[in-house]
């Protein structure tokens, strides 16, 4: 099926779900004050978008996400590279990584709140912690998975260790690094929303909880829809970057 045709097909399934949702609500199968139909959510969504009131919370949430994410990517790539190239550092750090990585990061939020309060510092830290590990692990695997033929070629062409890292290992592991970064982006978004719900006073997560507390269910769902769009948008953006940065990965 041609690319565009496939995408249109997918759109059909989304519309189908929305239609089903609407019908279920109209048939009275659910409590409308708990699950309003899309036809009631849409005006609330329109109101939020048209008034521009979505900009501030969106900006707050995205801001925290991007700062934490950038920190995590830089640290993750650096650590992954170091651990991949140095057996000594790998042996030193790997147990530590393996202990911290499996901890579901949301479980750390209460502890972080004690240390960092409920402001920007805490949110950025939570995002950074969650986003660090996928990038680190994938970078590590990318570095270790560089084709030995490439490394041998570098040796026979007289490249120094530093040159090999810079010219061969880094570009060769880029596809894996980007995979890790993409996973990290999703995880970062989850954490920032969660942190905002549990402990903050601004951002989309806080807003969704607040709307729930005052039983404004329709705007609450509208914001969830906005959140879904944000997640989708970030992914699409990432794919575009990936296509340009590693055009050879599918070949």
């Amino acid at each position: 099926m041609p690319e565009l045709g496939r995408k249109r097909f997918g759109l059909l399934s989304i519309l189908g779900v929305l239609l089903l949702w609407e019908l279920i609500c109209r048939a009275g199968l659910v409590n409308l004050s708990l699950l309003p139909p899309p036809s009631q959510i849409a005006p609330a969504l329109w109101k939020i978008l048209a008034s521009g009131s979505f900009l501030v919370p969106l900006g707050q949430t995205l801001g925290m996400l991007l700062i934490g994410y950038t920190i995590a990517c830089v640290a993750g790539v650096a650590l992954g590279l170091l651990m991949g190239c140095s057996d000594y550092l790998y042996g030193l750090l790997e147990p530590l990584v393996e202990v911290i990585r499996p901890i579901p990061k949301p479980a750390l939020i209460p502890a972080m709140v004690v240390f960092l309060g409920i402001g920007a510092g805490m949110k950025i830290t939570m995002v950074a912690l969650a986003a660090l590990f996928p990038v680190l692990i994938n970078t590590l695997q990318g570095v270790r998975g560089v084709d030995p033929v490439l490394l041998a070629t570098a040796r026979t062409l007289g490249c120094s260790r530093l040159e090999t890292i810079r010219k061969i290992i880094l570009p060769a592991s880029l596809p894996m690094v980007l995979i890790g970064m993409r996973v990290s982006l999703s995880m970062g978004l989850v954490l920032v929303i969660l942190a905002e719900m549990l402990a903050a006073e601004s951002g989309i997560g806080f807003l969704i909880l607040d709307l729930q507390r005052s039983f404004q269910v329709r705007p609450m769902y509208a914001w969830i829809a906005i959140l879904a769009a944000v997640g989708l948008g970030l992914n699409v953006l990432f794919e575009m970057v990936e296509d340009r940065a590693v055009p050879w990965r599918a070949k």
Partner: protein
């Protein structure tokens, strides 16, 4: 024959794998060869007999368990600067994120050359393999044969005196193979290189080399060394029809078949 030092000396190279926990396998029992400067030596043997291992030891990429390799009077412990190795999986040896030209340029970087000079040299070497027009392409946009030519161009750009080729043409079709063989012979003749070629193709060995060393299967030794005694320059069609070619080819194939049928255990 005499005491004149060879350019490349391979002495009693032995390679054993494993041994620490499992059974030790001897890939190379004892390989000794003397190679003269400017010579084209083919190493012929069945698959799995350790030919690649031998070549990598000669290249300094891996260490032998015993024996030594001496190049221009110096022992080889790491890839020597005057040597270039052409891998069997040539497509994996090309950097996919660089253009063809940039792949060749890898050789010139960190030598303090100006960008413009590097570009000129790259075009020069790509021209030698007939790919100057493709210099802005990426490796994955080229056919297998073209990729191999890029690898050759890059190898030449390093201005080696010794070229090690690991079954370089086994993965291309017959016609491309003939083209590449002629190309390599042409470059060899003009640049005065010394070439070691690993192959399992008898035709190829006879067509290209001055001498052919035949390896046994594991644990390998040099079973025999023959001079091809064929006139140069070699001609793709003509040489292959000479009586000497056919005779030598017949002998070698018979020898290899005999050994195969003699019920020897393949390691």
């Amino acid at each position: 024959m005499t005491a004149t030092a060879s350019y490349l000396s391979i002495r009693d190279v032995n390679k054993v794998y494993g041994g620490q926990h499992g059974e030790a396998t001897t890939a190379l029992k004892s390989i000794s060869l003397e190679v003269k400067q400017g010579e084209f030596l083919a190493i012929l043997g069945p698959s799995g007999c350790g030919k690649s291992t031998l070549l990598q030891i000669v290249a300094g990429l891996i260490d032998g368990t015993a024996g030594e390799v001496v190049l221009s009077g110096k022992a080889v412990t790491a890839p020597p600067p005057e040597m270039v190795y052409l891998f069997q999986q040539y497509s994996k040896s090309l950097l996919p994120w660089r253009t063809v030209e940039q792949n060749v340029a890898l050789v010139f970087e960190s030598k303090g050359m100006k960008k413009r000079d590097i570009a000129t040299r790259c075009v020069e070497y790509l021209g030698m393999v007939g790919l100057a027009a493709f210099r802005k392409h990426y490796p994955w946009q080229l056919s297998g044969g073209m990729q191999q030519r890029v690898a050759i161009a890059r190898a030449l750009a390093a201005q080696p005196r010794l070229l090690l080729l690991d079954e370089p043409f086994s993965a291309v079709d017959a016609l491309t193979r003939i083209e590449l063989q002629s190309l390599v012979l042409d470059l060899w003749g003009r640049q005065g290189l010394t070439i070691l070629l690993i192959t399992h193709d008898v035709d190829e060995a006879v067509f290209m080399a001055d001498r052919i060393a035949v390896l046994s299967s594991r644990p390998s030794i040099v079973e025999m060394v023959v001079d091809t005694e064929l006139p140069r320059p070699r001609d793709a069609m003509g040489t292959r029809e000479l009586p000497r070619f056919l005779q030598l080819r017949h002998e070698l194939v018979a020898h290899l078949l005999n050994r195969q049928n003699a019920g020897r255990v393949d390691a």
